[in-house]
Symmetry: C2
Subunit: 299 residues, 2 copies
């Protein structure tokens, strides 16, 4: 893609607009609670998961209205990603004060409000996917989207991964466990984003398998690069406290392999992602460019 | 019903067995996390919400297999109720150390694990409702169950109510606000339990309206009685710290109206619940007995 930056900007705007359209308004008796949710949801996230979801849908669907059908699912992914950041930042978890260059939710609103903002966003993700007034694919397919998201975000996925991450702090972490943590904590939701786009777009089994393979590899690349940036980038560049992993005694790729080897492992993962969708036509170009973009952040 | 205690015991066993069947096993890499979820889920809850859900379903359905169809939804309600207790008990919220006569989740497992146990149970509720391998009504109906639960448990329901409750501590709370807190924090999920049973059982619109009215009134009665017990019962009787509301400067019915008037308001709510389902035949007897049982706890 010649103009990938333009594509990303456009896609971000599409997602941003949908989030504004679908998110609860800051009014009425729960306004203070909704304010905390919106504060974190509209804090300048990169919207990687919704964009992956939409791009995967367009890879398999001929329907010109596929974006509109998938936007509630795309927004649900971002709600659930945002909730996970709010809860991860809590004092009892990673105790981070800075996220995307601004005060974390609990630093701004207090701990109780942040826990509830996370709970609210998590629940709202499922509200968006099941709301009969919002666009979406047929009921059977919608159910499958919900099942995919619940499994990826839950105890055998993202929540379980965060448990392992916290549980492993200051411990010797073998490579196998590190892979499990990354696969569940970050990989599961990124894979789900791609799979949900594919499912919502009506993918055949073979296409779904290929795109899920792409999602797994891209999710791994994403986390490896995240580990790397925590070591190589400044707090200002990251928008969150740099060196936070080392400070918490967390297992990371650079801690296990050093910076150079970590970068080459990220490259391997991106190559696997590209190989998974080799057979797709040029409608998969955005997914290819996204995989390369993720790696480009590591340099 | 002559033998309501026997009915309740039987129903609890049905729910208990389904929870054991459907809950994640304590094994593999996430065993420690699942242990914390199971600790709170199997801590001797009364299973009021699942029992209400099943009873409402039997009120409107002739299908002898209706229980099996509704059990995943009934278990989802209990997962979400349990998550709300775990998060409400956290130090940043009500800071309670005792629940159902045993240490609260965070006292036993630590704060981070308790937050994650709650997140896991909340997400697992939606997993149960969408899992294609579990029994359930048709896809359209299932989606409606998910939408009903997500709305009731989320920011405009239970989570919003908890926000108002926390936000109102040590403040003068007008009666209107107290009603809103109760309706959202406790009432919404109880109403959802009844509505979900009715929807899953294929209720007609008129039946659904009547049962939702019953749910609203029973939910209110339940919370009024809970307020009352916090004042009149001992810690041993409650299984949680008595007098906790007053200690946190919480708005309650007894604080606003005194014990006698509060009891009579509970009675009024139960009467409204009974009136709502007056037109139902004797299949509604369990719901009638449940409403009376809730009031009987206040004496």
């Amino acid at each position: 893609m010649v103009d990938f930056k333009l594509y990303l900007d456009e896609q971000r705007q599409v997602v941003e607009q949908a989030l504004h359209q679908y998110m609860l308004p800051e009014e009425g008796e729960f306004a203070g609670h909704v304010e905390a949710m919106r504060y974190s949801l509209f804090a300048g996230g990169k919207r990687v998961r919704p964009i992956l979801c939409l791009a995967a849908g367009r890879c398999v669907s001929e329907d010109p209205g596929i974006d509109a059908l998938l936007l509630p699912a795309a927004c649900a992914l971002e709600c659930i990603h945002t909730y996970s950041l709010i809860h991860d930042d809590l004092p009892a978890m990673d105790n981070d004060e800075l996220r995307r260059g601004q005060a974390t939710c609990h630093t701004r609103f207090g701990e109780a409000e942040a826990i509830l903002a996370g709970d609210g966003l998590l629940t709202y993700g499922f509200d968006l996917l099941s709301n009969p007034e919002l666009p979406g694919p047929a009921a059977e397919t919608r159910l499958l989207l919900i099942a995919t998201l619940a499994r990826a975000a839950g105890s055998l996925g993202m929540v379980g991964g965060q448990y392992l991450d916290i549980d492993s702090e200051e411990k010797e972490v073998p490579f196998e466990l590190l892979k499990t943590i990354h696969r569940s904590k970050t990989g599961a939701l990124i894979t789900a984003a791609v799979s949900m786009g594919a499912i919502g777009g009506g993918a055949e089994q073979k296409q779904l398998r290929a795109l899920t393979g792409y999602g797994n590899a891209v999710g791994l690349a994403f986390q490896i690069v995240d580990d790397l940036l925590d070591v190589t980038a400044s707090t200002e560049q990251l928008g969150k406290t740099a060196g936070s992993d080392a400070e918490h005694g967390k297992a990371t790729y650079p801690a296990l392999f050093g910076v150079d080897k970590t970068r080459s492992l990220a490259k391997d993962a991106v190559d696997r992602a590209l190989a998974s969708i080799e057979s797709f036509d040029n409608r998969a170009e955005p997914l290819r460019a996204l995989a390369k973009y993720i790696f480009s952040r590591s340099r």
